[in-house]
Subunit: 200 residues, 2 copies
């Protein structure tokens, strides 16, 4: 045992975070040792509270204080359009964009390979059930336009194969407001390949 | 507020770790939400325990359960030779190397610029006092052979200027056991520049 036991134990516990190796865990632990006690107590409390007080919405899978979540129970929203996103962050982003007035389906971290985890069959099965219930007319794929996101989208398409639902996905191309000179060539190539007639 | 309050609070608390940005903090927080409750409780407990049960040795500054630490109170060790290291990790490393039978002085994270913190004047002042007490005959600088470590070493040298103590530093050159073909050119250049006559 290299360090005093409580320190070793903290390092072992911190190492369980994804992307935190033994060196990072050590650095974090040493930071804890020189932080004010109240700050450490706050973090400990925040950990427990976040774990105990939040849950996943039984309908869309998003993180919420109470299930079903505020979006799923909002009678003003259009339950026939479900936007599929990778995680809770993306729900917030879509909401702030203000264009989507339907519901969501969150694949969550466990799904996207970018998080280093295996696909979450639970989230896919839950989506299948939602669509099979007949209320959903359109599923909008809003996964990221990269390899992981495309992979996730593909799995959703496969999971919904044969069901009477329209599957759409967010448009891809030039990001509005961007100047061409600063765009990555890949984006330009993608936009060129997806070019559309002017009257479309 | 983008996420439920307890989650936001956890993210804010995690962001206080050095090197943890808002995205990493979010990822860590979401990891907490899908970890078993016992695991989260363990981490919370480990945080408090590490902070409350450990302290810094009043003599050498190393992390310890009880101050002064086991090394500083070991009558078998040679109190006339003090090895200056950057942090607790390096004490362990030196101990496992088994060559140093003297005491240590730990500059700690707060000192080395690599940790993103300002130099810790307290650790330097404590070293000055130790040397001024007259017991220390040799100070061995064992900071890292890079810019930050050299900077730290320089500050120690300046802090001890005028005191009747021999200051040495760990030899630099080819790492024993290495094959030249795999070494970085910088190491070779450094070893060449520091070449010594065969009988030295």
């Amino acid at each position: 045992m290299a360090f005093p036991e409580p320190l070793e134990r903290l390092i072992r516990a911190l190492e369980k975070f994804p992307g935190v190796g033994s060196r990072s865990a050590e650095r974090m632990a040493l930071h804890v040792l020189r932080s004010p006690r109240e700050e450490v107590a706050e973090l400990a409390m925040a950990l427990r509270d976040a774990r105990v007080e939040t849950t996943r919405c039984e309908i869309c899978g998003n993180i919420t204080l109470r299930s079903p979540c505020a979006i799923c129970t909002d009678a003003e929203r259009d339950a026939s359009v479900v936007c599929v996103v990778e995680g809770p962050r993306e729900v917030e982003k879509m909401e702030s964009a203000g264009m989507h007035h339907g519901l969501y389906h969150v694949l969550l971290e466990g799904f996207a390979p970018r998080e280093g985890a295996t696909p979450d069959p639970g989230a896919l099965a839950a989506l299948q059930r939602r669509v099979a219930s007949g209320q959903v007319k359109e599923v909008v794929l809003a996964t990221a336009p990269d390899r992981e996101g495309e992979g996730a989208a593909l799995q959703v398409v496969e999971a919904l194969a044969g069901q009477p639902v329209i599957i759409t996905r967010l448009a891809r191309g030039l990001p509005v407001g961007a100047r061409l000179e600063y765009l990555h060539g890949e984006i330009l190539a993608d936009a060129y390949q997806g070019r559309r007639p002017l009257d479309a």
